[in-house]
Symmetry: D3
């Protein structure tokens, strides 16, 4: 399998961290192709930014379609997920959605724990969009926005453990999802300190991408009635315009 | 009042039709500034297209902010609405959302009638996003996609009246919203043939923009805690980048 | 436009305050006809009182139908709103519903702040009845019922600002609706102190009444299939009995 | 036990039919006190009529409180139910709500079958107000309004059986509620023809009134924190004004 | 009437307490047949235990069908309720469901108060399964699991009263259900200390069983289309296997 | 990985078919341990049967825990799933739940198509229990129950394709789940005939079991606060009693 991982945040360091985890999940038989956005925002944290980044995600996938079995949108919040799923003839996995769906199969109720109150609303929107609101026990965050997003996994580790414990003890969560790309890899480290199953979203996304490739018959995507009709466009990247015009070759 | 009307579809004819209706609604004391997208798609009809068009909407509003009291996203489906509302310090009105909210104040249950089955899912998503699903009696469309979107208001008039009647008689709708920019202005023409209140979305959007300017204290928008933090960006239009960086002057 | 404003609370002072705000919203070209209930309760604060007051609202509208373009039920809680909307052939606007719908177009999530815990449940019912529960971030009130309802806007001003701030900071509201007729006009005064858009319900009701007159084709109301059949009655006011019998002239 | 049955429809024939069934349910040890509205409408069939009739229900209960253990609002649609429940210190039972709650204890999913499409919306509102929408498989009615409401139980019997069968076979209902006072008593007659449990609402209301008297500790009602505060009023019947002023003796 | 009360907890003391209350509710004309599980668990407190106990409930009912008018599953949480209702041709009442439905007829919003945080999730599941989530104001419990389940009604009495008061004062409950078989009979004792209607689930279950026998036409159950088809089985008790094979005689 | 597949239906042929597909999904590196129920029912088709079969599932898992990485409940309808997930310290996958969650990651809306109207209600309950009702476009089945469940995949193939097409064309499904163990393996065969992604539940269950093993840190399950407390029991199999008493060794 060849899985495309597109990071719509303009951070190659973050991409590298996620790609390393991804490669660990798939093992040596399978390939991870990782790409970082070359425009947009250093770190997406609002709906407005996600609107723009979602368009960039479409271009990044279109540019790298060749030989790919599935694509992963590697930002919690899943910018462009539904658009990409509609447009491309292969499984498209969102980091948030796949973590939430996995959480819902590992326990009755899940919570999301993340590093900033600024993400709270967007992540709740993700839960709502996934359709799993009923299974969600809440989103817990620190009270203040961290100064530096890059090192929250270490700087806030004790507080994140404490938030996860509260999610379990006060909100009755069975499963805790550590939301946000900067927390990639933290789940394994804190698992022993949290009385619940802890989910790492990038691990979930990669494992779900593998599952979807196994589940979905390849030819089905091209046959989908709900695919948008072929259409001309102005101002899109060549590769994306070709996909939109149903003239992409892959 | 000066109201900005941005049409994310690349059709100046459609913009003209809507601007004419809008000017009729606001009267001579108020001004309509109408703009048409210069890139994107001839007619947005899918989530993928709306993802891209939503980014274009943000640029169109940023480019025309000067002296504006409110902005109208003039495409049923409201691409970019939530992003724009979050970002700009003034009321932003969506054609679909404002029509649905108005419908919900004109009767107990509303239906949407539109010209193509291809729009059905997207319009239902609009209802869901508005939060008014419970008040919605359904979306009715012809069975087949029309050959020519531009003239559906005349070519399909009899069928649209018949769909509206079914929405009333079989689905118990009190109000019928004629969804889709190509149906702009049709409501008035068929009102006498439909046993319900019929809503024209562009009329609703303009009337609601006027209402929001009256209701929302100007200074409130700049004070909003939920506004995204100032942020650098790469590859956005200058005006939009300035807004994102909190350095726009208007 | 001639807009009828009926206050089902037996307080002419409250009617005057609201009529003054209403006249300010519509401007000199349009007319506000304000009426105060001459029976019922000094201030409606329960479902039981609303049941009775709702019947009085129907009579007040029936008595003043002549030449009216729209009617406003000027009590937060909207007694009789759905009944009046069904019965009369013109737009009927509720102060609560119109404030909530407006709030939902000014931000993603709204809260209601009001002056007494006794109103909490009724106002939550209003949100539920409007269908907008999903968009609501909560209802916040002081812990105790005020001694004097008339002057809560001044006596409780600091506490109401504090509640509004909590709604924003703890409940993630983008918009705060100041519920209850005794708070009419307060929004403008406290807007600078609240990090959100603040909505005054009587302003919202009047602006929405104007919008509805612009949106709804006049003849539609008489054609509505969902209108109750003509019916005889005993014990109603003459004007209301005529409307119920489909013999009102206006 | 003494159960008060108030019929807000001005039909003593209907009251007699219902009282006979009620007396059969309670047996000779218990007493049914039946009252018919002396103003309002011959047969309530809309929200507007229910708004007015609900006020009359409050007066009818207040006038007959002495020595009563529970009150039954004997019109499907339950006009005034929530208001009465809030106001009076005893169990108040609605014919619709009690039938729906009973249906939900007799099977997984219930349907309502009634005699006129004009009742459909109101009865659906009842389901929604009860909170049991998820357990409801639908409301089925004939296509046309009957000429004569009084004899629908016999004139439409075959059609009602056919609707009930469709509710079972097509909508997967386990239980069918025969909604509307004119169908009182029909359930027993058609039970053998319907492959589901069939519920007669007046029987359900009376059986539930007996159950509530057994379940609810008498003194609890007077202690309720959610009871409206004592209040003066203008224009109410003496007995109702006394209840509202917390000066009723019973 | 002969009502079968099956206690799936292996505690004859608990069965005796409940049977005494039940006999008090039905009076001397009617009969209570009480049975205690002879296998399973001392006290069911999880979904896993309820899965197994639910099967035992089916056997207990099958073993005692002769001459019975209705069956009561006498454990809050209602193990096996939906299975039993589907299978047996008579009304089957759950202690939790019947208490919740009754609560919803005694006030607008109810809360559940119980003796251990370990029951919280299961009881919330009961509310969800009943369909009444919207009417529920919450589940309140002590912070810690009690050492001894048997005497919680006396040992925790003050705390339970305090929890009930919080449910009323902070969560706006009108009705409080005292969940869990070990609290049987407590409602009457604490009613004077709680400003709400307090519901005893075993009383509710018995009163509702009587109501259902009055409401449901006997022959209906055998006619139900939704009854499972006759089927062979291996390893079930003889009586249950006969019911499953549609060969039970009763 | 060693995955346990327990078939609660007493059909070794069905177990063999599913095990073959499962082995094909996991490949030669991983092991499938397949077990068939030796008591219960030939084919589970009702809630009553699922209640009993769910207890058997718990025993089957307890009996085969040694060296297992995850367990699959191999009957669409997932008898005992929630109980097993609560009880055992490893991932437990349901065939229905995993197929629905997968479907929700492969498209916006999914439908279930199955071979008998008798399964319709139970499968809808599965959707509801999963929390994904909002993403579900419906359950479609033939009108009549098939004579022979074993060969429905071939005997009804044309009808199932036609139902799947209707789910897509009339209900707007993007993904179709072929529900029911007798349809195992059919998805691949009919994929070319259905304009949507078609999901085989046993493939989904196995792929999801593999994903869960990758996602969930092993030690987490034993640490879960929501695990039932250790408890004595009577009448359970030795292995299950040990698990319940927290004395299982694996």
């Amino acid at each position: 399998m060849r899985l495309l991982l597109v990071n719509p945040n303009m951070s190659t360091a973050m991409t590298e961290t996620m790609a390393t985890i991804a490669r660990d999940v798939v093992g040596p038989q399978h390939e991870i192709i990782a790409r970082t956005a070359d425009r947009g925002f250093p770190y997406i944290a609002s709906r407005a930014e996600a609107q723009i980044a979602g368009g960039i995600v479409l271009e990044m996938i279109a540019d790298n379609l060749s030989g790919i079995d599935a694509a992963i949108v590697a930002a919690f919040g899943d910018p462009g997920l539904r658009a990409a799923r509609e447009l491309f003839d292969l499984p498209v996995i969102g980091m948030a959605e796949s973590a939430l769906m996995s959480a819902a199969m590992l326990g009755e109720r899940f919570s999301v724990v993340t590093f900033s109150p600024a993400m709270r609303r967007w992540y709740l929107d993700c839960v709502r969009d996934s359709g799993l609101m009923e299974r969600c026990a809440g989103v817990r965050t620190p009270q203040d926005h961290p100064r530096n997003v890059a090192d929250v996994g270490t700087a806030l580790r004790a507080e994140l453990v404490s938030l996860a414990r509260s999610a379990v003890e006060q909100d009755d969560a069975d499963v805790v999802v550590l939301g946000g790309a900067p927390l990639a890899g933290l789940a394994k480290e804190i698992a022993a300190d949290v009385p619940a199953v802890v989910v790492d979203p990038i691990t979930a996304a990669v494992a779900q991408a593998m599952a979807m490739v196994r589940i979905a018959p390849k030819q089905s995507f091209g046959l989908r009635r709900s695919k948008p009709l072929a259409k001309s466009s102005v101002g899109l990247s060549q590769a994306l315009a070709d996909v939109v015009r149903h003239e992409a070759q892959f």
